[in-house]
Symmetry: C2
Subunit: 448 residues, 2 copies
């Protein structure tokens, strides 16, 4: 029987980071990643394979990120875990003993059971699977009319990329706006306008009743009885944690279907950790279970697990998911961190909303200047920032991270008002009207 | 005699922000800005007038930022302040009574007295003065060989912009590298390489002994006896606080030549405030007096003064200058916040340096991907971040602000290691190798 000190099941973002961080924290231990894929795609890059990248080859995580750090790698599927004997069985019938085990089994595309026609030819999902996506790319090449079902980040990004390739794309979202789980209405509507102007047809507030076709897909029937013809359907209806192995191994599973894990990312068995999309998460602010799965959150959890494998550190824990998102449609970036206004109000927070629209360069006459809009969701009682949403240019990703750090540090609007920022004509908003600070000021003016 | 509740002397960034914040905090009070300029230029935008903008007209702060907030405006020079009677005298012989006075008199270009030839024709400084810069622009139009003396931000930016316009530019810096007060050697050398590749001739480690010419400038004589011919010289040798009015009015001046001011930005007279380049500053970390003058710091101070004019708030104070800089040379952005390694060691901190080089998009095969390098300067004892330096693409400005918030919140490398960030292929580094987190990890690995 093979043996390793630490065995990590799953080789995407969370598995890689758990292994690399673990190895760098405990260099004397042997680390082995077991994954079922021959090659691993960059998960967040998948939508861009359909347009900008044009091939899965350009979207691979090289094995060197593991091997050059001294982490061992094995391709195979773990079929069972014996918790007592600390042995994993692989589908090639080998057995591997371990001291510590990390579940990083990720998530799989969700396809509702009630939806008819999902097995027709040219109905696709978006798994993190190079072989599947290669085939899908080839087949989509022959399709012109494509319907994307689901207006979350993946659905929106895939729609925009397919549209870039000259496809006739219709995006269908059952909620009142696209991106609704990340953004309040006003920002989501701006995203819709831009996506629409780029040529994507958008239908919101309407669900898909049935996928139509005979062997091959021919279109969809909507809830309002409308039919739309299509050569292909892409289902982007969310993901669900991949927990079957953990469940079969007897680990506790939460009500929401994640592997139960604490702030050190330990499961109920202290020698077994779970990280990433498959692991239990709590919302940083509401403290409720969260179902938001993000590669960046996964990596934060994986780092925590990696560092706590053999020695717990109270300084190195996950204190809840802040849920920091960003995306870009054309040259407009969108970002959000923490709670939206809608979520905060639903939770029962008494909130004050601060907004400001400025520019992301100064003077605004400089080339490539982009409007920059910030909305802050702030607890009235304490002035602490609960969430923020941003629309702007290419700097929106890091600006959203700045808001993430504001939330993580439980900064109040007063701290933002007196905060120091650096500004530069070509890189940021002006110092006089830096939108984050002005939005904080807007809040302070309302609560006086 | 005219009367106002609050009189602000100076109408650039700090004056504007003090007035606007003050008016929004105390809407019942009358605010009057008195400034000597007919029109005000965006201070940080000045270098870009010489290339990208091509005209001062595109770099003006509109008076509407004051007037639409209900702040009154007067063009004129304040010639004296009577502290006891609370009266300012203007150069048109009018007198204005005030309850509260704010000095926002800024800074003026520094020209060393020992330097011969500064009064020759075509020797220029870079004041925040539209009329001067308009004339300078016209005169520079007829010059081909231009020497810029001083490789700080202004000198570097002006050199790059003049070079863009086809001028033959030589930049002279007496320190071993350009931008040395903001960046450690390794980053400064990268900036030099880029500037050099764009066509600017750079001479470092050599000072200017004398400016040569007869009526009109003909060149410079360097310390090493070398002579360089030039049609024009631009002196970018730093700025000094403009404190003559405050000094004549009897206000206390610090040893470094700034108007003495506390954390509420009050001078020794509690009814008189000073903000921006003319006001005393302390370094956030070393607690020593600082001479770093930045528009963004000025605006933070001005907001603090505006809010504390009539009612002190212990939540709204300036806790020292973090000194957050950023700039761009071509498509490469450079940023720094807090102490450099050199400064930290000189101060006596026992520091650990963490670095990481990654990419600012993911996968790195995406168009416009730029290398991203981060250096963190961390106190060994506490793990608290004392400073950070960044090189990368367009997101560097906000990424530097993120590091600024890390310093301001006195975050440790452990907090960064477990921090949550959001990532997106088109907007940020990958979640697996986000350089800020990897640089923190580099520190942790060294101190184990």
């Amino acid at each position: 029987m093979e043996k390793t000190d630490v065995l990590i099941v799953g080789g995407s973002a969370a598995g890689i980071v758990a292994a690399v961080t673990g190895k760098s924290t405990y260099p004397d231990k042997d680390f082995l990643v077991v994954r079922k894929e021959e090659q691993v795609v960059v998960p967040c890059g998948i939508p861009y394979i359909f347009g900008s990248l044009d091939s899965t080859e350009k979207n691979l995580i090289p094995d060197a990120v593991l091997t050059k750090k001294g982490v061992n790698l094995k391709t195979g599927k773990v079929v069972s875990v014996n918790q007592e004997e600390k042995i994993c069985k692989i589908d090639d019938d080998t057995e591997i003993g371990f001291e510590k085990l990390v579940f990083a089994t990720g998530s799989v595309p969700h396809v509702p059971k009630w939806l008819k026609g999902t097995d027709l030819e040219n109905v696709f999902i978006i798994p993190k699977d190079k072989v599947y996506i290669d085939k899908m790319l080839t087949k989509l090449g022959n399709c012109h009319n494509i319907i994307v079902v689901g207006g979350g980040f993946i659905g929106v990004e895939v729609s925009d990329e397919l549209n870039k390739k000259g496809k006739n794309v219709t995006l269908i979202e059952i909620l009142p706006t696209i991106l609704r789980l990340a953004f309040d209405k006003e920002l989501a509507i701006e995203a819709e306008k831009i996506l629409c102007a780029r040529g994507v047809h958008i239908k919101t507030g309407i669900g898909v009743k049935e996928i139509l076709g005979d062997k091959k897909v021919s279109g969809v029937l909507l809830n309002n009885s409308e039919e739309i013809n299509a050569d292909a359907i892409v289902l982007a209806m969310g993901y669900r944690p991949n927990i079957s192995l953990a469940q079969e191994s007897g680990l506790s599973i939460t009500e929401e279907g994640f592997i139960a894990a604490d702030e050190y990312m330990r499961t109920h068995n202290p020698d077994i950790f779970a990280v990433g999309d498959c692991a239990e998460k709590r919302n940083f602010i509401t403290r409720k279970h969260s179902t938001v799965m993000l590669a960046s959150t996964a990596c934060a959890e994986a780092r925590v697990a990696g560092m706590n494998l053999y020695k717990l550190s109270t300084l190195k824990t996950i204190s809840g998911t802040i849920a920091i998102f960003s995306t870009a449609i054309g040259d407009t970036g969108f970002g959000a961190a923490g709670l939206t206004e809608e979520m905060a109000r639903q939770e029962g927070f008494d909130v004050v909303i601060g907004t400001f629209e400025g520019v992301d360069r100064h003077p605004g006459t400089l080339p490539d200047t982009h409007k920059q809009f910030i909305k802050l969701i702030v607890a009235r009682e304490s002035g602490v920032v609960l969430g923020g949403e941003v629309m702007g240019g290419a700097s929106v990703g890091e600006l959203t991270n700045l808001i993430g750090f504001v939330i993580q540090n439980r900064m109040s609007v007063n701290s933002i008002l007196t905060a120091q920022i650096g500004t530069h004509p070509l890189l940021t908003a002006p110092p006089t009207t830096y939108p984050l600070i002005k939005a904080a000021e807007d809040v302070v003016c309302q609560v006086k």
